[in-house]
Each structure stands twice: as C-alpha cells, then as structure tokens.
C-alpha cells in the first residue's frame, strides 16, 4: 500500500459536476440561441421546442462577419508563424549577441495594453489608409500572436539538440536549408500549438476591430455581436446564436488539439 490510491469513479462524478458548473454559461448560451424571437427572453431550463430562427437571423446578418473573422484570423496565423518561426530558431540556436535582450523585450510586450497600441495605431493607420482594411486588422491582431508564437516556439526549439543542426551544417546545408528541412519538421507540434493560439487570439479580437474600423467594410463577428447588443436587444435569440457561432472554432480546436492547448498555455507563460 505504498502507492497513492488511485481515485475511482466518485472523483470522476465530482469532476463532471465541477465541469458542468463551469460550463453552465456555455450551455445557457446554446439554450438561449434555440429560443423563439421575442422582446423578453424567458428561456426554460431546457430548449424543449428548439427554434432555429435565431440562427437564420444570425447567419443572414452576421454571415459576412464570420467570413471576415476567418480571413483575418487565418491571415494573422500565417503572418505570426512566418515571423515567429525563423526568429525563434535564431534565438534558440544561434549564439546571437543581444539575443537575451530581444527575448526579454518579447516578454515585456505582453504587458503592453491593447488600448495603448490601438491609440497610437489609429493615427498612423489614418495617415497610411489602413483603417477599415484587412491588412491593417491582420497586422494589428498579430500583436497578440507574434510574441506568443516566439515564446512558445523558442521554448520548444531550445530542446532540439544543437548536434542535429550542426551535423546538417557539416553536411553542407545552408542556414535556410537547415531551418526548412531540419528545424521546421522537428517543430511541427509546437507550430500547431502556436498556430492554434494565434488563430484564436485573432478570431477573438474585439479591441482592434472596434477601434481601427470606422465603417462596416471589415467587420469581424465579435464586433457584429457588440453592435447587435446596442441595436437589436429585442432579438436575443439571434444575438446568442451569433455568439454560439463565434464560439465554434474555439470548441472545435479544443476537441482536436486539447493536449497542445494545455501545453501551449504552460510553455507560453512559464518558460
């Protein structure tokens, strides 16, 4: 009896209860989205007669916003990984003078509030004609993704043995070749982790969508929900249906990549 007794199904039951409590708001969001339209939403505990009209309204009003969000989030993911992967490789494997300083700088960016960035970018974007543009929003949204991806990829790449890289160098591979054919394939897991997070950061962005858009040309779904709240509070079912649709990517990615997400939180925060 030296081993700690493995807890059995009672703990599982307790765990399910805890999870149900934590996820109740998510359930309630889905429940509300299935109610019929009305000024006052008095949802029952269960959607006994599910009504999909909320989704019909949501897709009609916010369908474009969902596509916009997807484009922006994918753009930001590609940009963040393209910038972060080579940088993380350099920081992890080249003995660069000032490398530690750069890494410290990346950490400090985490403390910069988005509103400070938005405040300054608004004026600059106005001058450059980047307000109300996909490019502008993708670039701004990547302020969350780039530093995070550098931290996650750096933490991972540091564990890639230097000997492998040096062996490839001795065989005559150039730096670019080593990066492309040795480092990147070895880092697939970390790339997926970083990619999932940068996608979700950009998908969830609200602040930059709110501040760097003055028209409806580029209106991600998060901004759509917020404007709904102001204008259409009489159609709560549509508001909640939009919220549910906006949550789908997070739920799907969590199911597909649950281990990597937990690993990403830990390696991004505690290095």
């Amino acid at each position: 009896m030296k081993r700690a007794p493995a807890r059995g199904w009672p703990s599982t039951l307790a765990g399910i209860v805890l999870l149900a409590l934590m996820l109740f708001p998510v359930y309630w969001m889905v429940n509300a989205s299935l109610q019929p339209a009305g000024n006052v939403l008095r949802a029952g505990w269960f959607p006994v007669h599910p009504d999909l009209s909320g989704y019909a309204t949501a897709l009609r009003d916010q369908g474009r916003g969902l596509v916009t969000s997807l484009v922006v989030a994918l753009g930001s993911t590609v940009l963040s990984l393209a910038l972060a992967a080579p940088a993380a490789h350099a920081l992890a494997h080249f003995r660069l003078r000032g490398g530690t300083f750069v890494l410290f700088g990346v950490l400090v960016t985490q403390a910069v509030p988005g509103i400070v960035v938005a405040n300054a970018l608004y004026g600059a974007y106005d001058d450059l004609g980047l307000l109300n543009s996909y490019t502008g929003l993708i670039l701004a949204d990547s302020t969350a993704g780039v530093p995070f991806a550098i931290l996650v990829l750096h933490a991972f790449m540091r564990a890639v043995p230097r000997e492998i890289i040096e062996a490839a160098r001795v065989d005559g591979a150039g730096r670019l070749r080593v990066f492309r054919s040795v480092v990147l394939p070895l880092s697939t897991n970390a790339l997926i982790t970083a990619g999932v997070f940068t996608f979700l950061f950009a998908w969830s962005d609200f602040l930059f969508a709110l501040t760097l858009n003055t028209t409806d040309t580029v209106r991600p779904v998060t901004l759509g929900i917020y404007q709904y709240l102001g204008a259409h509070t009489n159609r709560w079912n549509a508001v909640m249906a939009t919220a549910v649709l906006a949550c789908v990517p997070a739920a799907v990615l969590l199911v597909l990549a649950q281990r990597r997400i937990a690993a990403g939180i830990t390696s991004g925060a505690v290095r």
Partner: protein, 299 residues
C-alpha cells in the same frame, strides 16, 4: 582576414532570421509606445485629424487626469477589479488544479474541457453573462429566487455596488482555466516521492500541502500572479460588453476610461496619457514583484 570575410555574411544571415520579427515588434510595439508618449504631451484631439496640428501641451494632459475628481475612483476600481479577479481566479484555479492532480478515470478529458471558457471570444461569453445577470429575466436571479435566497431581483448590472462584483465574477470565470492549467503544470513537477516520504512520516493531507506543495509551488505561483496582474489590469472587452463601464462609471477602469477618452471623446492626447499611466503601474508592479520574488528565492 579570410575568416573575417567569411564570418561577416554569416552573421548577416543569422540576423536575417530575426530581423523580420524584430521589425514587426518595433513597428507594432516600439512605435506605438513612443507615439503614445509623444501624444500624451500634445493636445491631440479630433481636429488634429483635419488640421494636422497637435500643439505641445507639456504635462497638461497628465495634470488634468490626475487632478480630476474621477481619478482616485478610477485607480480604486482598477485595483479592486484586479485584486478581486486575481484572488478568485487563483483560489478556484488552485482548487481545481489540486482536484485534477489526483488521477481518476476521464480526469484528462475533463481537465481539457475545462479550458473552454478561456478560449471563447470574450465578446461571446460576456454577452452571455450580461443576459444571465439581467435583473428581471436573468437565470442567476431566477435561480436565487427559486432557492428562496432573495425575494426581489438583485440588480447585478444596474446597481452601482453590484456591477463591479459582477464584472469581477465574469473575469474570474474567464481566468480560472488559465490559472488551473499553469498551477496543474507546477503540481506535476513536484516529485511524487516527497509526498510518499511525508506519508510515511505520518503527515496528513493538510500538512503535506503546507510543507511540500505550497513551498515548491512558489515560483509558479509568482508567475501566475505577476501575469495575472499584468493581464487583468488591461482588461477591456469584458467590461465594455458586460457593463460598458457603467452604471455611473462604477466599473470604469484605467483601460476602459482610456478607450473612452480616445475613441468616444476623441481626446487622443489624454487617452494616451491615461494609457501610459496604466503601463507604468503594471510594469512597476511586475518589477517590484519579480525583485521581491528573487530575493525570497535567494534567501
């Protein structure tokens, strides 16, 4: 000479990997910070966008903000929001981490599903909470009434003293998974044989928590708390969606007020000044805490 000429292109090649990211960080963090500092010393308002004129204003923006009647309340609300959120997230996150640290069937799956609140767009979950907390139709009040805990609806979002509690509650809910995950990682790193030894010495659960878990978790606790303050102090989405800073500015923090100044009153100079105060405060906290932590670890 030859080795020098061979090394120089290689040095350029090595930096070539870093330069694009560095350039991005300078443009999207370095430049905004510099411009924000410059703007905070200017009278930068809506007219600036038409005339291009932003006259130098010295410290007037800062003086206006600091001397306003609102400022002490703004600081207090920010501090309460940050401290309240952090305390709730940390305690509940640690409790969940300890719970899931013990192995049981399906534990891993349940633990990852727990991450969902943290991953959802804040606007979506904030909207849900806003409706759940509605005085007349919200499910929270309905449950409280059904349990006979209250007779009349609690004005969660419209009462000046309740609103702050509500946004803290929502932010705690959002932050629990993050805290639980990092603390769980910390717990996993504590060698199991320490617990076995403690058990052999007759230590109970409480004693082994106090003498093994808590001290060995300290570095992780430090990280969670510093990150928590830095992340929480700048929270904007939740407050904007759930209460919009109201009622009567009861949930207005430095971050939301900075947004309001710049993007609703178009007082970009003052918005910038307030943003800078926020950055300074959270950096100061992080530095003080890191230093205290290092001293504690060295001692």
């Amino acid at each position: 000479m030859r080795s020098g000429s061979r090394r120089l292109p290689d040095r350029i090649a090595r930096w070539g990997f870093l330069v694009p990211a560095l350039g991005y960080l300078l443009l999207f963090f370095g430049y905004p910070i510099a411009r924000n500092i410059a703007m905070s010393f200017q009278r930068y308002t809506a007219t600036t966008f038409y005339t291009g004129a932003a006259p130098f204003a010295g410290l007037r923006n800062y003086a206006d903000i600091v001397s306003s009647d609102q400022f002490p309340k703004l600081l207090l609300t920010t501090a309460l929001f940050t401290a309240g959120s952090l305390a709730g997230q940390f305690v509940l996150g640690l409790a969940l981490a300890l719970f899931f640290h013990r192995r049981f069937p399906l534990g891993g799956v349940l633990r990852s599903l727990l991450l969902l609140p943290w991953l959802l767009p804040l606007v979506a979950s904030g909207t849900t909470w806003r409706w759940m907390l509605d005085t007349d139709t919200g499910v929270v009040n309905r449950a409280l009434r059904d349990l006979h805990l209250v007779s009349t609806g609690v004005p969660w979002l419209t009462g000046t003293s309740q609103a702050l509690v509500s946004v803290i509650l929502v932010n705690v809910w959002v932050g629990i998974p993050f805290n639980a995950t990092i603390l769980y990682g910390g717990l996993q790193d504590i060698p199991a044989h320490l617990y076995e030894a403690a058990r052999l010495d007759g230590a109970g659960r409480l004693a082994s928590f106090r003498h093994i878990t808590w001290p060995l978790l300290r570095p992780v606790t430090g990280v969670v708390l510093v990150l928590g303050v830095v992340y929480t102090a700048k929270v904007l989405d939740i407050i904007l969606v759930v209460t919009g800073g109201g009622p009567a500015d009861a949930t207005q923090t430095l971050a939301t007020r900075s947004y309001e100044l710049s993007f609703q009153q178009f007082e970009f100079g003052r918005g910038a000044a307030l943003g800078n105060i926020l950055v300074l405060l959270s950096l100061a906290f992080a530095l003080v805490h890191l230093r205290a932590n290092r001293r504690a670890l060295n001692a």
